[in-house]
């Protein structure tokens, strides 16, 4: 059946002879999510990959000895996964130690990712833990800025209300001293209160008397 064809890859049939001899701890497996590729994967892409690994090795060791031909790819599969290893041309047919390759790739991981328009999740190096880019920390935390703005607004509002309250009270005291004891002592819980405090009537001229203009609800039912 069709499923068994897919599982042939499990028995890692190393078709290239050099891969068999170089199979060691310095070999790393690469996995690419085929479905996340925005382009078709072909031999040119493999070439680019070799170039990126060589670039990473050069950057890491600061020597310009690694050539594209030093990077070997083995066992390509359909879903774009393969093994690769970096050889050292100075010492023939030996591989660069896995730790160096790992460090080199980790250092330049984001460059490799962006060369392929992929991310840490879609381009996976098995056995290489990805360094995570630290989030950008702004110099002043954003929340403090917003907090400061809101705090200033609230304090300004409070001061405004307090000051205007004090001014109003001074005005009231001043005027009630002038007008004398004309205020109505209406605070009894009786329904005949018409709802308009009389001191407002004293201060403002031309106030509409709500008793006559009020709706029926204000009047006691007969």
């Amino acid at each position: 059946n069709g499923w068994s064809l897919y599982f042939d890859g499990i028995l890692y049939l190393l078709k290239q002879p050099e891969c068999i001899s170089l199979f060691s701890l310095s070999m790393f497996k690469l996995l690419i999510f085929y479905l996340s590729l925005q382009y078709a994967w072909d031999a040119s892409e493999e070439y680019l990959f070799k170039a990126m690994v060589a670039f990473a090795m050069r950057r890491y060791s600061n020597k310009e000895t690694t050539q594209i031909s030093n990077v070997l790819l083995c066992n390509m599969t359909e879903r774009v996964s393969f093994w690769f290893v970096v050889t050292d041309s100075a010492r023939n047919v030996t591989t660069v130690p896995g730790s160096e390759v790992e460090a080199a790739i980790r250092m330049n991981r984001n460059r490799i990712n962006s060369a392929f328009l992929l991310t840490d999740n879609t381009l996976q190096f098995l056995k290489i833990s990805s360094t995570l880019s630290p989030p950008i920390e702004p110099t002043v935390p954003v929340w403090l800025v917003v907090f400061g703005v809101v705090l200033c607004l609230v304090v300004a509002g409070i001061l405004l209300l307090v000051v205007s309250g004090i001014q109003q009270r001074k005005k009231n005291n001043h005027e009630s001293a002038e007008t004398g004891d004309l205020e109505d002592k209406s605070d009894t819980p009786v329904i005949t209160e018409n709802g308009i405090p009389c001191d407002i009537l004293d201060l403002k001229a031309g106030q509409i008397n709500g008793v006559y203009a009020a709706d029926d609800e204000r009047l006691t039912p007969l």
């Binding site: 897919y6 479905l35 599969t77 098995l126 954003v142 209300l161 309250g165 819980p189 329904i191």
Partner: protein, 592 residues
């Protein structure tokens, strides 16, 4: 020369104030939890029955008392009977405790709101550990949203004994929250009346936006189906009915004195019967509305996590067995797993610990309430939406509006009796009294910003108001019906509204509600007694989850003090008045 009592500018301000007070965080974070736990759509049956039997009558009673007596809670109960001034004082004490810890929630909402202006949201991903090789260990054990809540926001310690230090970030947010509350109550009803227009209506606007957004999210339907399928067998469980009654009771905010305070600023002939029915209906329908939103969000979050889990399993299997992409999908996963188990049993067995069984029901079943729902579950769902900053800002503004609206009611319950008392109002202006109250509450509230602060918060949340309120409302109902007299109360209502209350209200007030409250009271007491020592949930940073611990003895002492401080006011008040009267009689009789 007395200044006339300040009034609401129009009845609408009164209604909005009551709605703003009653519709609070409990509607958003407690009701959906209860719905989920006690039978889904079937929970609506006991809920609505309790609303009609308990909620509306008690609300009408409190509004009528406040409107008729035209005083805050202390003065109003003094008028009903001098021996009952203890009830008013108990209400003020409970409101005081409530406002101490409730504003801390607003402080957290501010914190999250300010952090919502970052891109990406800070709770969207885990921070890195010190050498940048991986994510922070605690964060990997739990999720990034839980980490942000427990570590970055609360910086919680591992038990209540370890106080830690005051978290300055939380402390300044708390100070800001109190400044905002002070700004709103500064001028009394004049300023409160304007503020409640915003705090009552803005949450509905945000809920509507969230409803539209929530229903269009992928997987929302799963949550809604899960919630609304009625599990009618839960109706036989007595806890369902008890929780429905409790929810109605606390959701309306009865017994705190806030409703009495708000109603005392009314016109004497305001139709409080009509408004009582309207307010309780709006409160309950808001709960149901909010739970629709919550469950569509739940469904989205659960589906998202479920699909993530599936994708991880598919990825793992595809990598290990080198399958072609697209070979494994969500549909054929089970059959493929069987195939792999049979064909490659050894390798599959090695993988087995890493393969999780993904289940949508398990994701939906994680019922959460309280701060866990509001700050963890919702923020987790928000981080996965597009334009998450906008939704985050909207959501936390909504939480703030709900919280501040309730705070306005709480502070009104404390301030109205204080400003009513002649002694205080002649010596100190209103602004200074409000300022002193806010200042005291803020200083005490700093306790909740300690590293162990959240544990103290839970103590206050669970014990400060529950038992005391039941007792207060019970005494209130009995006082009005039997001490003051139902006939006298009927006459007062006739004077105010123009018609007597019909038989339904009278039966509810005189018999049904007291019986209901007594049974709730007995249930709570037996529950406390039966569970023996009280326990709490502590966050274990090494495990990344909550563990249960026992309260130490001083915490139990504080709990006892909280409950006693308010409940003892009632008998003590009666005793003191009784003694004072005896002394007066004796001094009068010795003079003769």
């Amino acid at each position: 020369m007395e200044k006339p009592r300040p009034l609401w500018d129009n009845p609408l301000q009164f209604v909005f104030a009551c709605i703003s007070y009653a519709v609070g965080l409990g509607n958003v974070w407690r009701f959906p939890y209860l719905c989920q736990m006690y039978g889904g759509g079937g929970f609506l049956i006991p809920y609505l029955i309790m609303l009609i039997v308990e909620g509306m009558p008690l609300l009408y009673l409190e509004l009528a008392v406040g409107q008729h007596m035209r005083q805050g809670s202390i003065g109003a109960w003094k008028i009903i009977s001098p021996y009952l001034s203890g009830v008013g004082i108990a209400s003020v004490v409970v409101s005081f405790f409530l406002s101490m810890y409730y504003n801390v929630i607003n402080a957290w909402a501010f914190w999250y709101l300010f952090h919502s202006f970052q891109d990406p949201l800070p709770w969207a991903s885990c921070p890195l550990n010190s050498n940048h090789t991986g994510y922070d260990e605690e964060c990997t054990k739990t999720s990034s949203t839980q980490y942000f809540w427990y570590r970055k926001t609360l910086n919680i310690s591992s038990s209540i004994e370890e106080y830690g230090s005051i978290q300055w970030e939380q402390a300044v947010c708390l100070i800001l929250a109190w400044l905002v509350v002070y700004l709103c109550i500064l001028r009394g009803t004049e300023s409160t009346g304007k503020v409640v227009y915003v705090t009552a209506s803005l949450p509905y606007l945000v809920l509507i936006i969230y409803l539209i957004r929530g229903l269009t999210l992928h997987g929302a339907v799963n949550g809604l189906i899960y919630m609304f399928t009625p599990k009618l067998e839960q109706l036989a469980n007595p806890k369902t009915w008890i929780n429905a009654a409790t929810q109605i009771f606390f959701s309306l905010g009865l017994g705190f004195g806030s409703l009495i305070a708000f109603a005392s600023y009314n016109e004497p002939n305001n139709n409080c019967e009509r408004y009582a029915i309207i307010i309780s209906l709006i409160n309950s329908s808001t709960s149901i509305f909010a739970s629709i939103v919550t469950f569509s969000i739940y469904g989205f979050k659960a589906t998202f996590n479920y699909e993530n889990c599936l994708n991880k399993v598919i990825l793992l299997l595809t990598n290990v067995f080198d399958l072609e992409e697209g070979a494994l999908t969500a549909d054929n996963l089970d059959s493929m797993k069987d195939y792999l188990t049979s064909t490659y049993s050894n390798q599959y067995a090695e993988l087995l610990p890493q393969i999780k069984n993904c289940s949508l029901e398990a994701e939906l079943d994680t019922a959460v309430q309280g701060t866990g729902l509001a700050f963890i579950v919702y923020s987790e769902a928000i981080k996965n939406m597009e334009v998450s900053q906008l939704y985050s800002v909207l959501y936390f503004i909504m939480l703030l509006m709900l919280g501040i609206g309730s705070m306005l009611g709480n502070t009104a319950a404390i301030l109205t009796p204080l400003t009513d008392s002649k002694f205080l109002s002649t010596h100190l202006p209103k602004e200074v009294i409000s300022g002193i109250i806010c200042f005291i509450n803020c200083i005490v509230g700093l306790v909740f910003t300690l590293e162990a602060g959240n544990y103290w918060f839970d103590i206050f949340n669970d014990y400060a108001a529950t038992l005391s309120l039941l007792l207060i409302v019970l005494v209130e109902t009995i006082a009005v019906c039997y001490v003051y007299g139902l006939r006298r109360f009927e006459k007062d209502l006739l004077l105010m509204l123009g018609h007597k209350p019909n038989w339904y209200w009278k039966i509810m007030w005189a018999f049904v509600s007291p019986v209901l409250i007594i049974s709730l009271f007995i249930f709570y007491l037996t529950d406390y007694i039966r569970t023996g020592t009280l326990q709490y949930q502590a966050w274990d940073a090494t495990e990344g989850q909550l563990v249960t611990k026992d309260y130490p003895s001083y915490a139990l002492a504080v709990i006892g003090l909280l409950v006693a401080a308010s409940t003892m006011c009632i008998p003590l008040g009666a005793l003191i008045i009784f003694l004072m009267k005896r002394l007066k009689k004796r001094s009068v009789s010795t003079l003769e």
